[in-house]
Protein backbone atom coordinates (compact mmCIF):
# COMPACT_ATOMS: atom_id res chain seq x y z
CA UNK A 1 0.00 0.00 0.00
CA UNK A 2 1.62 3.19 -1.15
CA UNK A 3 0.99 6.68 0.13
CA UNK A 4 -1.52 7.46 -2.57
CA UNK A 5 -3.72 4.63 -1.29
CA UNK A 6 -3.89 6.11 2.17
CA UNK A 7 -6.47 8.85 1.69
CA UNK A 8 -9.16 7.02 -0.28
CA UNK A 9 -9.03 4.17 2.23
CA UNK A 10 -9.00 6.49 5.21
CA UNK A 11 -12.05 8.27 3.83
CA UNK A 12 -13.80 4.95 3.16
CA UNK A 13 -12.97 3.85 6.72
CA UNK A 14 -14.44 6.99 8.22
CA UNK A 15 -17.42 7.24 5.88
CA UNK A 16 -18.48 3.61 6.19
CA UNK A 17 -18.04 3.69 9.97
CA UNK A 18 -20.18 6.80 10.32
CA UNK A 19 -22.81 5.39 7.97
CA UNK A 20 -22.87 2.07 9.75
CA UNK A 21 -23.00 3.49 13.25
CA UNK A 22 -25.22 6.52 12.81
CA UNK A 23 -27.70 5.33 10.21
CA UNK A 24 -27.75 1.58 9.71
CA UNK A 25 -27.53 0.72 13.40
CA UNK A 26 -30.57 2.86 14.17
CA UNK A 27 -32.49 1.37 11.24
CA UNK A 28 -31.65 -2.14 12.38
CA UNK A 29 -32.58 -1.40 16.00
CA UNK A 30 -35.94 0.10 15.09
CA UNK A 31 -36.99 -2.64 12.68
CA UNK A 32 -35.98 -5.90 14.30
CA UNK A 33 -33.38 -8.56 14.98
CA UNK A 34 -33.49 -9.96 11.44
CA UNK A 35 -32.95 -6.58 9.82
CA UNK A 36 -29.19 -6.12 9.73
CA UNK A 37 -27.36 -3.97 7.22
CA UNK A 38 -23.62 -4.52 7.19
CA UNK A 39 -21.74 -2.34 4.73
CA UNK A 40 -18.45 -1.69 6.53
CA UNK A 41 -16.94 -4.90 5.03
CA UNK A 42 -16.75 -2.88 1.79
CA UNK A 43 -13.77 -1.08 3.30
CA UNK A 44 -11.95 -4.38 3.77
CA UNK A 45 -12.79 -5.57 0.27
CA UNK A 46 -11.76 -2.32 -1.37
CA UNK A 47 -8.29 -2.23 0.21
CA UNK A 48 -5.62 -2.46 -2.52
CA UNK A 49 -5.35 -6.00 -3.89
CA UNK A 50 -1.62 -6.14 -3.20
CA UNK A 51 -2.04 -5.41 0.53
CA UNK A 52 -0.41 -8.18 2.61
CA UNK A 53 -2.93 -10.47 4.32
CA UNK A 54 -1.56 -9.65 7.76
CA UNK A 55 -2.34 -5.97 7.18
CA UNK A 56 -5.85 -6.56 5.84
CA UNK A 57 -6.55 -8.76 8.84
CA UNK A 58 -5.38 -6.01 11.18
CA UNK A 59 -7.34 -3.30 9.35
CA UNK A 60 -10.41 -5.52 9.31
CA UNK A 61 -10.02 -6.03 13.03
CA UNK A 62 -9.58 -2.30 13.50
CA UNK A 63 -12.73 -1.21 11.67
CA UNK A 64 -14.66 -3.99 13.37
CA UNK A 65 -13.42 -2.85 16.76
CA UNK A 66 -14.34 0.77 15.98
CA UNK A 67 -17.87 -0.30 15.11
CA UNK A 68 -18.02 -2.53 18.15
CA UNK A 69 -17.32 0.45 20.39
CA UNK A 70 -20.47 2.12 19.11
CA UNK A 71 -22.53 -1.04 18.93
CA UNK A 72 -21.55 -2.05 22.46
CA UNK A 73 -20.59 -5.53 21.25
CA UNK A 74 -16.87 -5.48 21.90
CA UNK A 75 -15.11 -8.23 19.94
CA UNK A 76 -18.01 -9.24 17.73
CA UNK A 77 -17.49 -7.07 14.65
CA UNK A 78 -13.75 -7.13 15.30
CA UNK A 79 -13.67 -10.91 14.94
CA UNK A 80 -15.79 -10.83 11.80
CA UNK A 81 -13.64 -8.05 10.35
CA UNK A 82 -10.44 -9.97 10.99
CA UNK A 83 -12.00 -13.01 9.37
CA UNK A 84 -13.04 -11.02 6.30
CA UNK A 85 -9.56 -9.55 6.02
CA UNK A 86 -8.18 -13.06 6.11
CA UNK A 87 -10.47 -14.70 3.54
CA UNK A 88 -10.18 -11.73 1.14
CA UNK A 89 -6.83 -13.04 -0.16
CA UNK A 90 -8.32 -16.44 -0.94
CA UNK A 91 -11.37 -14.89 -2.62
CA UNK A 92 -9.09 -12.89 -4.92
CA UNK A 93 -7.35 -16.12 -5.71
CA UNK A 94 -10.65 -17.86 -6.52
CA UNK A 95 -11.99 -14.91 -8.50
CA UNK A 96 -8.73 -14.34 -10.37
CA UNK A 97 -9.57 -13.11 -13.90
CA UNK A 98 -8.01 -14.63 -17.01
CA UNK A 99 -4.40 -13.57 -17.20
CA UNK A 100 -4.28 -12.74 -13.51
CA UNK A 101 -4.12 -9.39 -11.78
CA UNK A 102 -1.84 -6.75 -13.28
CA UNK A 103 -0.57 -3.59 -11.66
CA UNK A 104 -3.19 -1.69 -13.66
CA UNK A 105 -5.99 -2.82 -11.35
CA UNK A 106 -4.80 -1.88 -7.87
CA UNK A 107 -8.25 -2.16 -6.29
CA UNK A 108 -11.11 -4.61 -6.75
CA UNK A 109 -13.69 -2.10 -8.01
CA UNK A 110 -16.02 -2.14 -11.03
CA UNK A 111 -14.06 0.75 -12.44
CA UNK A 112 -11.19 -1.62 -13.25
CA UNK A 113 -13.11 -4.85 -13.64
CA UNK A 114 -16.74 -5.26 -14.64
CA UNK A 115 -19.92 -5.16 -12.55
CA UNK A 116 -20.63 -8.84 -12.98
CA UNK A 117 -17.24 -9.83 -11.58
CA UNK A 118 -17.50 -7.33 -8.75
CA UNK A 119 -21.05 -8.41 -7.81
CA UNK A 120 -19.99 -12.05 -7.65
CA UNK A 121 -16.96 -11.26 -5.49
CA UNK A 122 -18.95 -8.98 -3.19
CA UNK A 123 -21.74 -11.57 -2.86
CA UNK A 124 -19.43 -14.33 -1.67
CA UNK A 125 -17.43 -11.96 0.51
CA UNK A 126 -20.48 -10.51 2.25
CA UNK A 127 -22.07 -13.91 2.71
CA UNK A 128 -18.97 -15.27 4.45
CA UNK A 129 -18.68 -12.14 6.54
CA UNK A 130 -22.32 -12.37 7.64
CA UNK A 131 -21.99 -16.09 8.37
CA UNK A 132 -18.96 -15.53 10.60
CA UNK A 133 -20.56 -12.52 12.22
CA UNK A 134 -23.79 -14.28 13.18
CA UNK A 135 -21.96 -17.44 14.21
CA UNK A 136 -19.93 -15.39 16.65
CA UNK A 137 -23.05 -13.54 17.68
CA UNK A 138 -24.85 -16.78 18.57
CA UNK A 139 -21.57 -18.19 19.92
CA UNK A 140 -22.91 -21.72 19.63
CA UNK A 141 -24.01 -23.87 16.74
CA UNK A 142 -27.03 -25.00 18.71
CA UNK A 143 -28.93 -22.16 17.00
CA UNK A 144 -27.74 -23.05 13.51
CA UNK A 145 -31.20 -22.33 12.12
CA UNK A 146 -31.24 -18.81 13.50
CA UNK A 147 -27.69 -18.25 12.31
CA UNK A 148 -28.59 -19.30 8.77
CA UNK A 149 -31.75 -17.19 8.73
CA UNK A 150 -30.00 -14.09 10.04
CA UNK A 151 -27.08 -14.60 7.65
CA UNK A 152 -29.32 -14.88 4.62
CA UNK A 153 -31.54 -11.94 5.58
CA UNK A 154 -28.59 -9.70 6.41
CA UNK A 155 -26.84 -10.72 3.21
CA UNK A 156 -29.94 -10.11 1.07
CA UNK A 157 -30.40 -6.65 2.60
CA UNK A 158 -26.76 -5.60 2.59
CA UNK A 159 -25.95 -6.72 -0.95
CA UNK A 160 -28.14 -4.20 -2.83
CA UNK A 161 -27.22 -1.48 -0.35
CA UNK A 162 -23.49 -2.05 -0.79
CA UNK A 163 -23.85 -2.24 -4.58
CA UNK A 164 -25.82 0.98 -4.50
CA UNK A 165 -23.07 2.68 -2.52
CA UNK A 166 -20.40 1.51 -4.95
CA UNK A 167 -22.59 2.59 -7.85
CA UNK A 168 -23.25 6.04 -6.39
CA UNK A 169 -19.68 6.85 -5.41
CA UNK A 170 -18.14 4.80 -8.20
CA UNK A 171 -14.60 4.95 -6.78
CA UNK A 172 -11.70 5.30 -9.15
CA UNK A 173 -9.02 4.25 -6.75
Amino acid sequence: MSGSDLWPNAIRFAGLTVLQVLLLRQVGLSIGPYFNLLVYPLFILLLPIATPTALTVMLGFLIGLTIDVFYGTLGLHAGAGAFSGFIRTYLFFVFEPKGGYSGKEPTAIPHFFDWRWFTGLLAVFLLLHCLWYFSMDAFTFVYIGTITLKTISAWALSMPFALLLVFLFNPKR
Binding site: P52, T53, A54, T56, V57, M58, F61, G64, L65, D68, T73, L74, G75, L76, A78, G79, A82, F83, G85, F86, T89, M136, D137, F139, T140
Partner: protein
Protein backbone atom coordinates in the same frame (compact mmCIF):
# COMPACT_ATOMS: atom_id res chain seq x y z
CA UNK B 1 14.71 -16.27 15.34
CA UNK B 2 15.35 -16.15 11.60
CA UNK B 3 13.21 -19.23 11.15
CA UNK B 4 10.48 -17.62 13.17
CA UNK B 5 10.61 -14.56 10.93
CA UNK B 6 10.46 -16.75 7.83
CA UNK B 7 7.48 -18.53 9.29
CA UNK B 8 5.73 -15.23 9.91
CA UNK B 9 6.41 -13.98 6.39
CA UNK B 10 5.03 -17.15 4.92
CA UNK B 11 2.03 -17.53 7.25
CA UNK B 12 1.77 -13.99 8.60
CA UNK B 13 -1.81 -13.64 7.41
CA UNK B 14 -2.96 -16.69 9.20
CA UNK B 15 -0.99 -15.96 12.36
CA UNK B 16 -2.38 -12.42 12.52
CA UNK B 17 -5.85 -13.74 11.84
CA UNK B 18 -5.53 -16.35 14.55
CA UNK B 19 -4.18 -13.94 17.15
CA UNK B 20 -6.79 -11.28 16.42
CA UNK B 21 -9.58 -13.85 16.36
CA UNK B 22 -8.52 -15.14 19.77
CA UNK B 23 -8.36 -11.55 20.96
CA UNK B 24 -11.82 -10.78 19.64
CA UNK B 25 -13.28 -13.91 21.24
CA UNK B 26 -11.62 -12.87 24.47
CA UNK B 27 -13.19 -9.42 24.18
CA UNK B 28 -16.51 -10.91 23.15
CA UNK B 29 -16.65 -13.27 26.11
CA UNK B 30 -15.44 -10.66 28.55
CA UNK B 31 -17.73 -7.82 27.49
CA UNK B 32 -20.94 -9.39 26.25
CA UNK B 33 -23.33 -11.03 28.62
CA UNK B 34 -24.85 -13.74 26.44
CA UNK B 35 -21.65 -14.94 24.85
CA UNK B 36 -19.99 -14.79 28.25
CA UNK B 37 -22.66 -17.05 29.72
CA UNK B 38 -22.39 -19.53 26.87
CA UNK B 39 -18.64 -19.54 27.27
CA UNK B 40 -18.85 -20.04 31.03
CA UNK B 41 -21.29 -22.91 30.56
CA UNK B 42 -19.19 -24.63 27.90
CA UNK B 43 -16.05 -24.04 29.88
CA UNK B 44 -17.74 -25.60 32.88
CA UNK B 45 -18.61 -28.71 30.90
CA UNK B 46 -15.15 -28.93 29.41
CA UNK B 47 -13.39 -28.29 32.70
CA UNK B 48 -15.58 -30.90 34.31
CA UNK B 49 -14.53 -33.44 31.74
CA UNK B 50 -10.87 -32.55 32.10
CA UNK B 51 -11.05 -32.67 35.88
CA UNK B 52 -12.80 -36.01 35.72
CA UNK B 53 -10.14 -37.36 33.45
CA UNK B 54 -7.43 -35.90 35.63
CA UNK B 55 -8.81 -37.41 38.78
CA UNK B 56 -9.15 -40.71 36.95
CA UNK B 57 -5.49 -40.56 36.04
CA UNK B 58 -4.54 -39.63 39.57
CA UNK B 59 -6.53 -42.54 40.93
CA UNK B 60 -4.80 -44.79 38.47
CA UNK B 61 -1.38 -43.66 39.62
CA UNK B 62 -2.35 -44.08 43.25
CA UNK B 63 -3.81 -47.50 42.64
CA UNK B 64 -0.77 -49.20 44.03
CA UNK B 65 -0.90 -47.38 47.34
CA UNK B 66 -4.62 -47.96 47.42
CA UNK B 67 -4.13 -51.68 46.92
CA UNK B 68 -1.48 -51.79 49.64
CA UNK B 69 -3.75 -50.01 52.07
CA UNK B 70 -6.70 -52.23 51.26
CA UNK B 71 -4.65 -55.35 51.68
CA UNK B 72 -3.32 -54.23 55.03
CA UNK B 73 -6.88 -53.58 56.08
CA UNK B 74 -7.91 -56.94 54.67
CA UNK B 75 -5.24 -58.69 56.68
CA UNK B 76 -6.46 -56.90 59.82
CA UNK B 77 -10.03 -57.92 59.17
CA UNK B 78 -9.00 -61.48 58.44
CA UNK B 79 -7.05 -61.57 61.67
CA UNK B 80 -10.09 -60.36 63.59
CA UNK B 81 -12.44 -62.65 61.74
CA UNK B 82 -10.47 -65.83 62.16
CA UNK B 83 -9.75 -65.12 65.81
CA UNK B 84 -13.37 -64.38 66.52
CA UNK B 85 -14.26 -67.94 65.59
CA UNK B 86 -11.64 -69.27 67.92
CA UNK B 87 -11.49 -70.77 71.33
CA UNK B 88 -13.75 -69.52 74.00
CA UNK B 89 -12.20 -69.95 77.37
CA UNK B 90 -14.38 -69.56 80.42
CA UNK B 91 -12.68 -67.17 82.74
CA UNK B 92 -13.05 -67.79 86.41
CA UNK B 93 -12.78 -64.86 88.74
CA UNK B 94 -12.24 -65.15 92.44
CA UNK B 95 -15.79 -64.13 93.20
CA UNK B 96 -17.71 -64.26 89.95
CA UNK B 97 -18.15 -66.84 87.30
CA UNK B 98 -17.84 -64.62 84.23
CA UNK B 99 -17.43 -65.25 80.55
CA UNK B 100 -15.35 -62.52 79.03
CA UNK B 101 -15.37 -61.10 75.50
CA UNK B 102 -12.46 -58.95 74.46
CA UNK B 103 -13.79 -58.51 70.93
CA UNK B 104 -17.06 -56.79 71.73
CA UNK B 105 -15.95 -55.56 75.14
CA UNK B 106 -19.36 -56.42 76.50
CA UNK B 107 -19.76 -57.41 80.08
CA UNK B 108 -22.26 -59.80 81.45
CA UNK B 109 -23.00 -63.44 81.77
CA UNK B 110 -22.29 -64.25 78.14
CA UNK B 111 -18.92 -62.61 77.98
CA UNK B 112 -16.34 -64.77 76.35
CA UNK B 113 -12.60 -64.72 76.26
CA UNK B 114 -11.35 -64.78 72.73
CA UNK B 115 -7.79 -65.82 72.50
CA UNK B 116 -6.16 -64.33 69.39
CA UNK B 117 -4.27 -67.14 67.73
CA UNK B 118 -3.54 -65.96 64.21
CA UNK B 119 -2.13 -62.93 62.53
CA UNK B 120 -2.04 -62.29 58.79
CA UNK B 121 0.81 -60.50 57.08
CA UNK B 122 0.04 -59.25 53.57
CA UNK B 123 2.68 -60.05 50.96
CA UNK B 124 3.13 -59.96 47.21
CA UNK B 125 4.33 -62.88 45.12
CA UNK B 126 7.45 -61.87 43.20
CA UNK B 127 8.40 -65.26 41.79
CA UNK B 128 6.49 -68.41 41.01
CA UNK B 129 6.95 -71.75 39.27
CA UNK B 130 4.38 -74.44 38.49
CA UNK B 131 5.99 -76.74 35.95
CA UNK B 132 8.70 -78.36 38.06
CA UNK B 133 8.42 -81.45 40.20
CA UNK B 134 8.91 -79.28 43.25
CA UNK B 135 7.68 -75.76 42.83
CA UNK B 136 8.57 -72.62 44.74
CA UNK B 137 7.34 -69.10 45.18
CA UNK B 138 9.10 -65.99 46.36
CA UNK B 139 7.33 -63.35 48.43
CA UNK B 140 8.42 -59.85 49.36
CA UNK B 141 8.23 -60.25 53.15
CA UNK B 142 10.84 -61.72 55.46
CA UNK B 143 12.15 -61.83 58.99
CA UNK B 144 11.81 -58.04 59.19
CA UNK B 145 8.06 -58.62 59.02
CA UNK B 146 8.35 -61.38 61.65
CA UNK B 147 8.03 -64.18 59.15
CA UNK B 148 9.81 -67.42 59.93
CA UNK B 149 9.96 -70.83 58.33
CA UNK B 150 6.93 -73.16 58.51
CA UNK B 151 4.26 -70.55 58.25
CA UNK B 152 1.30 -71.12 55.98
CA UNK B 153 0.74 -68.87 52.98
CA UNK B 154 -2.77 -68.31 51.73
CA UNK B 155 -4.61 -66.02 49.37
CA UNK B 156 -8.16 -64.79 49.25
CA UNK B 157 -9.05 -67.87 47.21
CA UNK B 158 -7.27 -70.64 49.05
CA UNK B 159 -3.99 -72.13 50.16
CA UNK B 160 -0.77 -71.21 48.37
CA UNK B 161 2.12 -72.83 50.18
CA UNK B 162 4.38 -72.98 53.21
CA UNK B 163 7.28 -70.65 54.04
CA UNK B 164 10.58 -72.54 54.02
CA UNK B 165 13.47 -70.08 54.00
CA UNK B 166 13.52 -66.48 55.07
CA UNK B 167 15.73 -63.53 54.43
CA UNK B 168 15.33 -60.05 55.92
CA UNK B 169 12.88 -58.95 53.24
CA UNK B 170 12.26 -62.07 51.16
CA UNK B 171 10.95 -65.52 51.81
CA UNK B 172 10.90 -68.60 49.65
CA UNK B 173 7.66 -70.47 49.86
CA UNK B 174 7.20 -74.12 49.09
CA UNK B 175 4.27 -74.13 46.69
CA UNK B 176 1.40 -76.56 47.25
CA UNK B 177 2.67 -78.06 44.02
CA UNK B 178 5.56 -79.73 45.84
CA UNK B 179 6.12 -83.40 46.59
CA UNK B 180 6.61 -82.72 50.28
CA UNK B 181 3.40 -80.78 50.71
CA UNK B 182 1.02 -82.30 53.21
CA UNK B 183 -1.83 -80.07 54.31
CA UNK B 184 -4.35 -81.29 56.81
CA UNK B 185 -7.77 -80.89 55.23
CA UNK B 186 -11.36 -81.77 55.99
CA UNK B 187 -14.43 -82.43 53.88
CA UNK B 188 -17.02 -79.83 54.72
CA UNK B 189 -19.97 -81.06 56.78
CA UNK B 190 -18.54 -84.59 56.92
CA UNK B 191 -16.45 -85.62 59.87
CA UNK B 192 -13.50 -86.73 57.81
CA UNK B 193 -10.02 -85.38 57.58
CA UNK B 194 -7.15 -86.23 55.31
CA UNK B 195 -3.88 -85.01 53.90
CA UNK B 196 -3.68 -82.96 50.75
CA UNK B 197 -0.71 -83.94 48.59
CA UNK B 198 0.39 -83.30 45.03
CA UNK B 199 0.72 -86.52 43.08
CA UNK B 200 -0.23 -86.03 39.45
CA UNK B 201 1.59 -83.23 37.67
CA UNK B 202 -1.48 -81.18 36.86
CA UNK B 203 -0.88 -77.65 38.22
CA UNK B 204 -4.49 -77.19 39.30
CA UNK B 205 -5.33 -80.53 40.93
CA UNK B 206 -4.17 -82.08 44.17
CA UNK B 207 -5.02 -85.35 45.86
CA UNK B 208 -6.68 -85.77 49.21
CA UNK B 209 -5.55 -88.98 50.88
CA UNK B 210 -6.26 -90.79 54.12
CA UNK B 211 -10.00 -90.16 54.08
CA UNK B 212 -11.60 -93.40 55.28
CA UNK B 213 -14.01 -95.05 52.87
CA UNK B 214 -16.92 -95.23 55.26
CA UNK B 215 -17.30 -91.47 54.89
CA UNK B 216 -19.53 -90.65 51.95
CA UNK B 217 -17.65 -88.18 49.81
CA UNK B 218 -19.24 -87.11 46.54
CA UNK B 219 -18.19 -85.03 43.59
CA UNK B 220 -18.44 -81.31 44.27
CA UNK B 221 -17.90 -81.55 48.02
CA UNK B 222 -16.02 -78.66 49.54
CA UNK B 223 -12.56 -79.22 50.95
CA UNK B 224 -11.47 -76.94 53.81
CA UNK B 225 -8.40 -76.75 55.97
CA UNK B 226 -8.89 -78.75 59.13
CA UNK B 227 -7.08 -76.42 61.50
CA UNK B 228 -5.29 -79.36 63.03
CA UNK B 229 -1.86 -78.12 62.04
CA UNK B 230 -0.17 -74.92 63.08
CA UNK B 231 0.11 -73.82 59.44
CA UNK B 232 -3.43 -72.75 58.59
CA UNK B 233 -6.47 -71.86 60.62
CA UNK B 234 -9.39 -74.19 60.17
CA UNK B 235 -12.17 -73.59 57.68
CA UNK B 236 -10.22 -72.00 54.87
CA UNK B 237 -11.49 -72.92 51.43
CA UNK B 238 -9.06 -75.17 49.57
CA UNK B 239 -10.96 -76.69 46.68
CA UNK B 240 -13.76 -78.92 45.46
CA UNK B 241 -13.89 -82.65 44.92
CA UNK B 242 -13.48 -83.46 41.24
CA UNK B 243 -14.85 -86.75 39.96
CA UNK B 244 -15.92 -89.68 42.12
CA UNK B 245 -13.49 -90.63 44.90
CA UNK B 246 -11.49 -93.77 44.13
CA UNK B 247 -10.11 -96.40 46.45
CA UNK B 248 -6.51 -95.89 47.33
CA UNK B 249 -4.40 -98.58 45.64
CA UNK B 250 -1.99 -98.76 48.55
CA UNK B 251 -4.62 -98.93 51.25
CA UNK B 252 -8.05 -100.23 50.32
CA UNK B 253 -9.77 -98.73 53.36
CA UNK B 254 -9.08 -95.21 52.24
CA UNK B 255 -10.03 -92.93 49.37
CA UNK B 256 -7.83 -91.03 47.01
CA UNK B 257 -9.80 -87.92 46.10
CA UNK B 258 -8.97 -85.55 43.27
CA UNK B 259 -9.33 -81.93 44.40
CA UNK B 260 -9.59 -78.93 42.13
CA UNK B 261 -7.92 -76.00 43.89
CA UNK B 262 -9.88 -72.78 44.19
CA UNK B 263 -6.65 -70.81 44.09
CA UNK B 264 -4.95 -71.39 40.74
CA UNK B 265 -1.26 -71.78 41.68
CA UNK B 266 -0.33 -70.30 38.30
CA UNK B 267 -2.15 -67.07 39.12
CA UNK B 268 -1.23 -65.91 42.62
CA UNK B 269 -0.31 -62.30 43.25
CA UNK B 270 -1.43 -61.14 46.65
CA UNK B 271 -1.06 -63.51 49.56
CA UNK B 272 -1.19 -63.52 53.34
CA UNK B 273 1.33 -65.24 55.55
CA UNK B 274 -0.33 -66.90 58.51
CA UNK B 275 1.39 -66.37 61.83
CA UNK B 276 0.22 -68.79 64.44
CA UNK B 277 0.83 -67.10 67.79
CA UNK B 278 0.74 -70.44 69.60
CA UNK B 279 3.09 -72.23 67.30
CA UNK B 280 5.94 -72.62 69.79
CA UNK B 281 3.55 -74.12 72.31
CA UNK B 282 2.05 -76.47 69.75
CA UNK B 283 5.48 -77.47 68.42
CA UNK B 284 6.90 -78.23 71.85
CA UNK B 285 3.81 -80.23 72.73
CA UNK B 286 4.09 -82.20 69.51
CA UNK B 287 7.74 -82.79 70.20
CA UNK B 288 6.89 -84.04 73.65
CA UNK B 289 4.26 -86.34 72.21
CA UNK B 290 6.71 -87.87 69.75
CA UNK B 291 9.40 -88.26 72.42
CA UNK B 292 7.07 -90.05 74.80
CA UNK B 293 5.77 -92.36 72.12
Amino acid sequence: MNNLLQLFIRNGGFITFFILEVLSIYLLVGNNQRQGEIYAHSYGLFAGKVLNWQSGMREYFHLREEVEALRAENADLRTQNINARLVEVPYRDTFFHVLYDTLTGQQGLHRRLVRPAYEFVPATVIGNSISLNNNWLMINRGTADSITANMGVMSDNGVVGIVRHTDAHLSSVMSVLHRQTRISCAVKNKSAIGSLVWEDNHPRYMTLKDVPRHVEVAEGDTILTSGYSSLFPGGLLVGFVEGNPKTDRENQYFYTIRVRLTQDPADVHHVYVVRNLFRTTIDSLEKLTYERQ
